[in-house]
């Protein structure tokens, strides 16, 4: 650092010190306010975090319950089908009209399969 730098530095520092001397607030007061703000922020974060966790838990429970409502799939049992001439559609709720005896109640065939002089229409 040159002499002129030193002169400049000293002059500026004196000016700066005289400017700040009376104005610096008490550290303890500023620190106490900062701590109280930080604690408040921390509490707010905790509350928000708790609310988010509760919302996530609620979502999991609701989704779980919605899955429970789904019906179990039913499949045709070949042995059961072979041992009886009666068959019902697996989903009785959805297809109540589709119950018939394979040999007794022949379902109405669609018209296009009716024979007409030995040939299908």
């Amino acid at each position: 650092m040159t002499d002129s730098d030193t002169v400049l530095r000293n002059a500026l520092r004196k000016g700066q010190e005289s400017m700040e001397a009376e104005r610096v607030p008490d550290f303890d007061a500023v620190w106490a306010s900062a701590q109280s703000t930080a604690n408040r922020k921390g509490r707010r974060t905790t509350v928000l975090g708790g609310m988010a966790a509760a919302a996530a838990l609620l979502a999991v429970v609701v989704i779980g319950q919605m899955r429970g409502v789904e019906q179990d799939w039913q499949f045709v049992d070949p042995e059961e089908l072979a041992s009886s001439t009666y068959w019902a559609a697996p989903s009785d709720v959805l297809l109540p009209k589709h119950q018939f005896d394979l040999y007794g109640d022949i379902p109405v065939l669609i018209e296009s399969t009716d024979s007409d002089g030995g040939a299908l229409l």
Binding site: L12, R13, E20, V24, P25, W31, K41
Partner: protein
């Protein structure tokens, strides 16, 4: 560093270290906000909140002083971005913003020099303050200002030339 002193969310920062540099940090905050006392107090408090909550985390990669000064610098930048937007609205409405600006220095032997510093471009003014008044190296000052050391050195040289020129002319 006393153990009881260490901040919970910032293990490399102690209350006593912050207390030791409190005056300097406040001075830096004061010059960040055109010497508005209340704003400078807010800035310093906000910087301490950032350190207490760990939002600004010091990992010992620079000096603590450089780090805290940079936190104040960033906070003041954010603050002035918001204020600039608000001022534009005020100006549109034809209102003037209220300020609590105080005359930073009493008339005296350093008045001319002080005025000369205040007339420098912002970055030159900042580096002069950090190097001459806050005992930082050009590298540290550049880190606080968020510029490269090379850029910081250029601002420093230009500021010194400008100051010498102004003082010689006066």
């Amino acid at each position: 560093m006393r153990d009881s002193d260490v901040l919970d969310n910032n293990p490399h920062v102690s209350r006593s270290a912050l207390e030791a540099m409190h005056g300097q940090v406040f001075g830096w905050a004061l010059s960040r906000c055109d010497f508005q006392q209340a704003t400078a107090e807010d800035l310093v408090q906000q910087a301490y909140v950032e350190l207490l909550t760990g939002k600004a985390r010091f990992d010992g990669e620079s000096s603590l002083k450089t780090f805290v000064f940079a936190v104040v610098q960033n906070l003041s930048r954010n603050r002035y971005r918001r204020i600039a937007a608000r001022l534009r609205l005020h100006n549109r409405a034809g209102q003037e913003a209220a300020t609590d600006v105080v005359d930073p220095i009493e008339p005296g032997e350093h008045r001319d020099l002080w005025n000369a510093v205040q007339e420098l471009p912002a970055r030159q003014r900042d580096i002069v303050e950090l190097v001459f008044c806050r005992d930082m190296t050009i590298e540290e000052a550049s880190a606080v200002m968020g510029v490269t050391t090379g850029t910081g050195r250029v601002h420093y040289d230009r500021a010194k030339k400008a100051l010498r020129g102004k003082l010689e002319n006066d």
